[in-house]
């Protein structure tokens, strides 16, 4: 911070001396500092101990870049910039302060929409300045600008659709129609063709709004056939797109800070979506065009009527109390019911009795990467108890009780052996290898993907039907009251 101040003083002195070049040098220097800060920021995010430092250095980088931008000497008026900054603060800050942690996936989708729209608008403004004021854009720049605007606009509407699904304004099941993929590709093809024509002949300005509309339409069409359970991949992918459009903007405006920051974001989204795809054993194409999560209408499959065994919270509490180790497998159901604080109470009660309690986290549990970790951290569960799937799976044979809270497909043993199952090959948490399994589930209906879960029919499995928050609350109460003996 002190370095920034001294630099600012140097510049002030330079401006007084009437040297505009110094201003430019300062501006460039802030951009370089920002670039370094962003890289360090992500590097420090690697572990929870240094992560907050990472966030702070990111803030410093952003502040430096914004100061640098404000000092650009082609800026002639500040009133609209300040208006924008104030408006931005008014939108961003309240959301960040008061939004409940369970709404993090929605907020993320919403902020992708904001970022992408901002990128698309900057591209649009640049296009119209070039067309009406000049200087005219060359073919290459125009082509990149078109891709940038296309990506920005489709990410904008796509993220809004994702937001709608996560907020449950839109149905979570895939919305499909006949020939959907062909139609989508036709729209994308038309948008790309418009871009090509514009690049060859940038003076055909009336084509530009068409490009915007086609891109926004494609964004909607791309996301509506994707089911809620695939949202972790989709959000990561949209994250990547938003970064790439910022990156392309850097190419258009010859701003290398935009290229670096955009590339970092693009890479991050890309890595996350690959991790999510791997965790579901599916390909990008399958996630994007497979309309996964439609009701499985393979009637007559498991014809025989199988029954599940119901347990009571009393029994469950007693068994967990007597156990040496309990592994909890949280899922989207825990998030929906906002049960994380009750889980914490139960965790406290069990730990107090010397029971070893851990959490098994599947990479795609919930609606976005890392969703479960954030919720459990919010409930102040120490993060060294949150164990990744690959690390904890070996512990299940020695585990007395596996407690499944609102997770379904990620604990379905069918993924291991049933080649006909839609989730065949997906890595799962080995809850079925524990000595006893308790599964908290809202209703007897199959889970989101409409797939029967074999885990529930095992001899060692007991179901606890009901809202996750109510059931876990009851478990915690039983444990507290039984604490006397």
């Amino acid at each position: 911070m002190s370095m920034l101040l001294t630099l600012a003083e140097v510049v002030e002195a330079g401006t007084k001396a009437g040297s505009p070049d110094l201003q430019q040098i300062f501006s460039t220097a802030t951009y370089i500092i920002a670039g370094i800060c962003f890289i360090l920021s992500l590097k420090w995010l690697s572990s929870p101990t240094s992560a907050r430092r990472g966030n702070i250095v990111g803030e410093i980088g952003m502040a430096a870049a914004i100061i640098g931008a404000l000092l650009q000497h082609n800026i002639i008026s500040y009133e609209w910039i300040i208006t924008g900054l104030v408006l931005g603060t008014l939108i961003g800050a309240p959301l960040a302060i008061w939004m409940p942690m369970t709404a993090v996936p929605q907020r993320t989708a919403f902020s992708h929409a904001c970022g992408a729209l901002a990128a698309a608008l900057v591209g649009t403004a640049h296009f119209y300045i070039a067309a009406n004021v000049g200087p005219a854009l060359d073919h290459t720049t125009m082509a990149i600008l078109c891709v940038e605007v296309l990506l920005g606009a489709l990410t904008f509407t796509g993220s809004l659709m994702a937001f709608g699904k996560l907020q449950e304004i839109l149905p979570q099941r895939p919305i499909t129609f006949k020939g959907q993929n062909y139609f989508n590709f036709l729209i994308l093809g038309l948008a790309l063709a418009t871009g090509v024509v514009l690049s060859i002949n940038p003076s055909m300005t009336m084509l530009f709004p068409l490009l915007l509309v086609l891109a926004m339409l494609f964004g909607v069409l791309l996301i509506i056939p994707i089911g809620g359970a695939d949202m972790p991949t989709v959000i990561a992918l949209l994250n990547s797109y938003a970064g790439m459009s910022a990156c392309l903007m850097g190419f258009v405006l010859h701003n290398q800070l935009l290229i670096i920051a955009g590339a970092l974001d693009g890479a991050s989204g890309f890595v996350l979506s690959i991790i999510m795809c791997k965790a579901m054993n599916r390909s990008f194409t399958n996630v994007l065009f497979g309309a996964f999560g439609q009701l499985q209408t393979t009637a007559g499959g498991p014809g025989e009527k199988r029954t599940v065994r119901s347990g009571t919270p009393e029994e469950a509490a007693q068994i967990m109390e007597a156990a040496q180790s309990v592994i909890i497998i949280p899922g989207y159901g825990m998030a929906v019911a906002q049960a994380q604080h009750k889980v914490r109470e139960m965790f406290d009660q069990l730990t107090k009795r010397g029971v070893d309690v851990k959490f098994a986290i599947h990479p795609v549990a919930g609606r976005m990467p890392g969703h479960m970790n954030v919720l459990l951290a919010e409930a102040e569960i120490p993060y060294d108890k949150l164990i990744e799937m690959d690390e904890i799976n070996g512990e299940f044979p020695q585990c007395d009780v596996a407690l499944v809270i609102g997770a379904n497909d990620v604990v379905n043993p069918a993924a291991r052996h049933d080649k006909n199952s839609p989730i065949y090959g997906m890595p799962i948490i080995d809850a079925d290898r524990a000595r006893t399994v308790y599964a908290i589930k809202r209703s007897k209906n199959p889970g989101f993907a409409g797939i029967e879960n074999e885990l529930y029919y095992l001899d060692k499995t007991f179901m606890l039907f009901g809202d996750a928050k109510a059931v876990v609350g009851e478990l915690a109460r039983q444990l507290t009251e039984g604490g006397g003996h």
Binding site: M62, A125, A377, E380
Partner: protein, 102 residues
């Protein structure tokens, strides 16, 4: 320097940054994937610098309107992104908070 050379220069920057990004991001603990997303979201709102230039240089009314809107949207991500990341990261604690239990 010709425009072509400039683009090649940008391409090099992009390739290096992308590979750096890939290697840095793969090291991020999966536990922190949600904060990672909100942090990168704030960082990619760097487009605010481009928006500031467009809103400030006042080339045309349309451009100023678009620029101002873009400043607001991008800055919302800057403010919101960093704040929510900090809020989340603050929650990740290794041990029980000894006294601070409300």
């Amino acid at each position: 320097m010709s425009l072509f050379d400039q683009f090649i220069g940008h391409l090099y920057v992009f390739i290096l940054a992308a590979f750096l990004g890939l290697s840095v991001i793969t090291r991020v603990s999966p536990m922190l994937h949600t904060p990672l997303m909100s942090l990168t979201n704030a960082i990619s709102a760097i487009s605010v610098v481009a928006a500031i230039e467009i809103a400030g240089k006042q080339e045309s009314t349309l451009a100023t309107i678009l620029g101002t809107t873009a400043v607001a949207l991008a800055f919302a991500n800057v403010v919101g992104g960093f704040m929510i990341t900090d809020r989340m990261l603050k929650m990740f604690k290794k041990r029980e908070p000894a006294a601070a239990k409300h």
